[in-house]
Subunit: 148 residues, 2 copies
């Protein structure tokens, strides 16, 4: 598995690791305004989805769908946003972001200018769901055969 020492996703986990598969990991991102924001990170240093073999792409995408499903089950977001950008860190990683009508940017992408202040009570309610979210992610990845 190729590693690049200057890459932050080779040098570190990139978040609080919820699940380690031999080829990818799922991490919880430390974004105060977005409890439940996860990333699904390929372990090897690969730049684009099309640098992966077809079966690897499907494996990684299946993990992304599982995280989305777990977020929906536990958090009932208005929408889930999925993205792999990598302009700053060209190591394949997916953002899986539960979005809510009252979040800082809705309906804009989280990378746009904020539209409002985060609602502290909503954030606290969502943060309280994190243990259930972690349980759901693990249970659904296991059920999907994406076993650690």
């Amino acid at each position: 598995m190729s590693q690049v020492s200057s890459c932050e996703l080779c040098a570190g986990d990139g978040g609080d690791v919820l699940w380690r598969h031999p080829q990818f990991r799922v991490v919880l991102v430390d974004e105060a305004d977005y409890p439940g924001f996860c990333r699904v990170i390929w372990n090897g240093h690969v730049k684009e989805m099309t640098d992966l073999a077809p079966a690897e792409r499907t494996l990684l995408a299946n993990a992304v769908w599982v995280v989305e499903a777990a977020q929906r089950e536990v958090m009932q977001p208005e929408k889930v946003n999925l993205a792999t950008l990598g302009n700053m860190t060209p190591h394949v990683h997916w953002h899986v972001i539960p979005r809510f009508l009252d979040d800082r940017h809705f309906p804009s992408p989280v990378w746009a200018e904020p539209r409002r202040a985060a609602d502290a009570a909503s954030i606290a309610t969502r943060r309280a769901l994190l243990p259930q979210l972690l349980e759901a992610i693990r249970r659904q990845l296991d059920a999907a055969g994406l076993t650690a």
Copy 2:
């Protein structure tokens, strides 16, 4: 196939259609600063990837990977950005965006504040590649068996 009359991706194609498959379409987006920006749009009105059956998710994702591969073949972008957001239009569609060091937002996402003016000569050079890009998208979708 469910349709919602108030949805712009049910009411219209959402761009210049390059490819029609019974279950999805590929369109070229009219974004002056981003020649080659494509969307891959599910034909039915479905909100989230996990509202699709597993085989449908894989079908749609495979089309996204093909468009990325065609953009890389023809345009040699610095990076390709993939995203399905749908906060404003909750009908599954993927943004497939070739990114360049000199584009308006690089390395930020295209939804962030611009960092510079677009370079007219670069844009013109990229725009001139569009016929080749359309040919590559069609050839590669056909080769992948994602036949119209």
